[in-house]
Amino acid sequence: MDSHTYNIYKPLRATLDEVIEESPLIRTFVLIPDEEFVFKTGQFIELSVDGVGEAPFTPSSSPLVTDRLEVTVMNTGYVTGIMHELKPGAVMGIRGPYGRGYPVSEFEGKEVLILGGGCGLAPIRSLLFTLEHMKDDLEKVILCYGSKTPADCIYKPLFSRLNSIDKFEAYRTVDITDDDWDGPVGVATILLDEVRVTVDNSVAVVCGPPIMMKFGTIRLLEMGYRDEQIYLSMEKNMSCGLGKCGHCMMGEFFVCKDGPVFTYNEIKHNPEVWT
């Protein structure tokens, strides 16, 4: 695009095609953008409700699909609350894609251990689609995912599908059990005790609520992962997405532009990293 006519603040329009209820609080919005939309897995977009506001989300769909975009949204604030009321046919706005996604080419020849929690599975699902596409170049992919309750688990069919793919393993846990649940109970990190992984030839990806990011990283370091082998998807108040507005500052980094994916090595010097 001509850099002199391109307006960095102007959204691309996208029509809401379908709304999928993933859990009581989480819905996936299937969008048809007015123009082909290209992104790299782990990059994020600013999704806006006309005249209301916009919020940052990492698409949960495959980056190989460019005419449809899926965004999984937890109803947790003002804008997301209004998004949850939208019906198919609504026109939304997309800015982006922004930031630095997962450096998947660096994962080649390795085992990929993924630790996810809650709505953090959304970016991970996009990553899993990418990893599935390049599975011939990978040793193994292990997903460890925790949700608050069995009902809060999103993309439930994903787990059986992943377990049917060669080289893929998927495990689930819940913090609070119910009558139908017969799997592990506890925070997502307990699943790491059971997985068989060759740490030296592995990378770890962590995406979830801040508390899980912190304790997940600590556990991975205990397992022998080096700082540069751990990829964290940081959550901040990304507002402009352009490395300008300042809302997502984490020390010297604009999370929106320098991240949202960082290695632990890149950000560990910063005392603000877990706050």
Binding site: S3, H4, Y6, N7, I8, Y9, K10, P11, R13, S48, V49, D50, G51, V52, G53, E54, A55, T76, G77, Y78, V79, T80, G93, P209, P210, E235, K236, N237, S239, C240, L242, G243, K244, C245, G246, H247, C248, M249, G251, E252, F253, K257, E272, T275
Partner: protein
């Protein structure tokens, strides 16, 4: 770079003619303050040359408090801003790094930057809280502006520093050639006088890098002590020539309004889930200094504080950051 001379009377007449082509702002002093105002030929005698410093930071010409950033708008006349102190010109370099970055250039900022001619002013005096020199910024501009003014009685030396400056200089009627050596000798005398004033005023103040080193080590107690008088009004960020954080506000038909924001306001970093790393006031207070002296220097080449001292003058809690830094030294 070269020098030219002009009488104040001819300069003002020339500016009057330039009004046909340009919007011109000049530093005007009255009994209340010194600030930029649109040039009015009948009030030319109120222009304060070589006097620090306009109340409004230069950034306001390029980053309006509030603007629609999605709608096309009519073009405006090119702008000449006269009397810009070097602290503000140096501050603009950081804004250029942020707003003209290779990947995401802000089209509105870029258009204003291209459309503006900066006429700097060498400071002959200092204000109570001027401390540019402590951070390696000279109280005069030898680059990054298009022209600079040095008044001597009823005459002006003009230091022409860019092609844009040359274009303006060539349109001035009544200008006369000056011996560069004489102009340089005059400016050097002025410069050394101002440097002496600044050095005396800021004895013991740590330099920019040292400030970053000492505040990184500062414990919560010192931030809490100074933040006790802070009311999160955001005057310091509003008046700061390098603070440029903003908020995007959505309007119908997917229009976006960009409004200046401040890390001093509650909720600046709050995420939808409710986490807010800057919830406590002393954390917000610390954030501004960490940003200026630690984080921005790691990421950018330009200074994030150029020592203009406006934040000290503007603070309604009378918080003096330099007292804080001296206490930590």
């Amino acid at each position: 770079m070269y020098y030219t001379g002009i009488s104040k009377e001819d300069w003002h007449c020339s500016l009057e003619k330039l009004l046909n082509t340009y919007d011109i702002f000049v530093p005007v002093k009255d009994e209340f303050s010194l600030d930029y105002e649109p040039f009015r030929p009948d009030q030319a005698e109120k222009i304060a040359y070589n006097t620090p410093k306009p109340a409004t930071p230069l950034k306001n010409f390029f980053l309006p408090v509030r603007e629609n950033v999605t709608s096309a708008r009519a073009g405006s006349k090119p702008v000449i801003i006269i009397g810009v102190p070097n602290c503000d010109i140096e501050a603009l370099l950081l804004l250029d790094e942020i707003y003209l970055d290779e990947v995401f250039a802000d089209p509105w900022y870029r258009s204003r930057r291209n459309n503006t001619i900066l006429v700097a002013s060498d400071c002959y005096t200092v204000n109570d809280h001027c401390h540019c020199l402590s951070y390696g910024v000279k109280p005069w501009s030898m680059a990054h502006a298009d022209m600079a003014i040095l008044a001597e009685g009823d005459h002006l030396f003009l230091r022409v520093m860019s092609e844009k400056g040359k274009e303006i200089a060539e349109q001035l009627s009544g200008k006369y050639d000056v011996d560069d050596a004489a102009a340089i000798s005059y400016e050097e005398k002025r410069h050394s006088e101002t440097e002496e004033l600044l050095t005396a005023l800021n004895a013991g103040l740590p330099d920019y890098i040292t400030t970053g080193e000492i505040i990184q080590k500062a414990g919560d107690e010192v931030w809490k002590k100074y933040a006790a008088k802070c009311v999160s009004c955001g005057a310091c960020t509003t008046i700061c020539p390098t603070c440029s954080c903003f908020l995007l506000i959505d309007k119908p038909d997917f229009e976006k309004v960009k409004q200046m924001d401040a890390c001093q306001y509650p909720g600046f970093e709050r995420v939808a889930g409710g986490e807010d790393a800057l919830f406590e006031l002393h954390r917000r207070f610390r954030n501004r200094y960490m940003c200026k002296y630690v984080w921005r220097p790691r990421k950018f080449n330009s200074l994030a504080c150029t020592g203009c001292g406006r934040c000290i003058e503007a603070c309604i809690g009378k918080i003096n950051k330099n007292e804080l830094f001296m206490e930590l030294t």
